[in-house]
Amino acid sequence: MSHPVIEVAAVTKRFGETLAVDAVGFAVPRGVTAALLGGNGAGKTTTLSMLLGLLLPTAGHIRIFGEDMLRHRYRVLPRMNFSSPYVDLPHRLTVRENLTVYGRLYGLAHLAARIESLTRDLQIAEFLDRQTGKLSAGQKTRVALAKALINEPELLLLDEPTASLDPDTGDWVRGYLETYQRRSGATILLASHNMNEVERLCSEVMMMRKGRIVDRGSPRELIDRYGRDTLEQVFLDIARAGERFDPREAAQ
């Protein structure tokens, strides 16, 4: 039996006295698009950072592709990638230069052809020789996506992939991710508080609140469980619940 692509067991992260992530555990099977959904400070980005190995957990275990992420990170990193609006690509390098550097970091052969086809797919070929910092937010997002897809990752981690985009561009990016996922069979985990995005892209949602996963299921299951019409209403129920939040009570 194959391992889930992501296995997280009792992962905790403390920053001094602050408990940012509290004994979180979940698994994401191959080929699934899943979401960590929660408000600001819920622990989504911290969890993603630990999955990427950028942040070391205080306790717990993370396995990606069956490998212990703390001990064998470099076996896994070539098979995954990441994008976030909060981590920039160097602004003064052109799009082509940025993609060349990252393509070489991933050890890609036929890099020029890869950049050409990827930028054509993402409709950024005309900006290839423009400095990345001089692009619009939508163009930058597509360039960041090109960087995230340069190695054709089997696992793609996305932190708020459509933050600050206008609805048209956001919709285009979501469509592209759907197509990529279908074609490549990749596993995608995204952190978001955009309900439309999560409902459209994800078959599995983990609701986070104050560093814990307080509920999980498909968007439809969550909506039905809470007796609501939309995932946004479920989100608000959870976000506005009191200190002693109990998902079973909230769902009744």
Binding site: G53, L77, V87, H91, R104, A109, S117, E152
Partner: protein, 276 residues
């Protein structure tokens, strides 16, 4: 949709390709901004001009300098090798903080030690861009060629460059720990060591307690060695060996401190947050 890319090497240990990618990244950056390239040329040239005229004056007024014309110029240029060597490491490091790029770099297969090697490589490139034109400029302006030092020049160059690397890595560690708040250290730290490095005067000029400090610096041995070559026409092997041994310590300790700071940055989550 495009086809899946071929991967040349993903699981090997050290990767020359990744090292090359990082060097390329910094060369792209250097190429993208002529003021940055000009800055590399500017200070060595200005220093050389300033001290060249000073030494011209002193040569007619000081028996010390008149015994070996060009000693101050040689000292200025060699000091710049160390300063540029340290700055070359620190500036390439700062480029990543300024561009908030560390998060992307370290979700790629780039190893921290490969990054360190790329910083050292770029330091060498920056030093060559800065110091070689200044050295060539001294020939028509002052009729002094530092290349007359011969083979010892190579030894002095390497010893000072490696000391600069060691310091640059420690400053990089401080930047990882304190963020851009520690940026000024990149520009100032090396000058703290200038008095004890005995760049323009013999170590014996220093107070006795400071002489003990001086002998822990590879630079003090190098500049003593430089004066021995220029004044006495001999290559002092004892100073060379002492500087080489100290350099090894500086480089190993600098690398260790940098890698420890890198791990601590991963514990604090600083790799994603660093930037302006």
């Amino acid at each position: 949709m495009s086809a899946a890319p071929d991967v040349l090497s993903s699981r090997a240990g050290f990767s020359p390709s990744r090292l090359g990618a990082m060097v390329l990244r910094y060369l792209y950056l250097l190429r993208s901004s002529w003021p940055r390239a000009l800055e590399l040329l500017y200070w060595p040239a200005i220093q050389m001009v300033l001290w060249g005229f000073t030494s011209q004056f002193l040569m007619t007024n000081s028996s010390y300098v008149s015994r070996a014309g060009g000693v101050l110029l040689a000292a200025v240029m060699l000091w710049d090798v160390m300063f540029r060597g340290q700055l070359g490491v620190s500036i390439s490091f700062l480029e990543e903080l300024w561009s908030r790029n560390l998060g992307h770099l370290f979700v790629s297969p780039l190893r921290p030690y490969e990054w360190v090697l790329s910083l050292l490589t770029m330091s060498l490139v920056r030093v060559m861009i800065g110091v070689v034109p200044a050295a060539l400029l001294a020939i028509p302006l002052y009729h002094y060629s530092i290349f007359t030092l011969g083979l010892p020049l190579i030894a002095f160059f390497v010893l000072l460059l490696v000391m600069g690397w060691g310091l640059g890595l420690v400053i990089g560690a401080l930047l990882l720990r304190h963020g851009l708040g520690a940026e000024s250290l990149a520009w100032l730290a090396v000058f703290l060591l200038a008095p004890a490095s005995a760049v323009y005067y013999p170590v014996s000029v220093l107070p006795v307690w400071l002489q003990y400090v001086a002998w822990t610096l590879p630079a003090a041995h190098v500049f003593e060695g430089m004066r021995a070559v220029m004044f006495e026409g001999r290559f002092p092997l004892d100073h060379f060996l002492a500087a080489a041994a100290l350099d090894a310590v500086y480089l190993v300790v600098g690398t260790a401190i940098f890698l420890i700071a890198f791990r601590q940055a991963r514990e604090r989550g600083a790799l994603l947050q660093m930037g302006e």
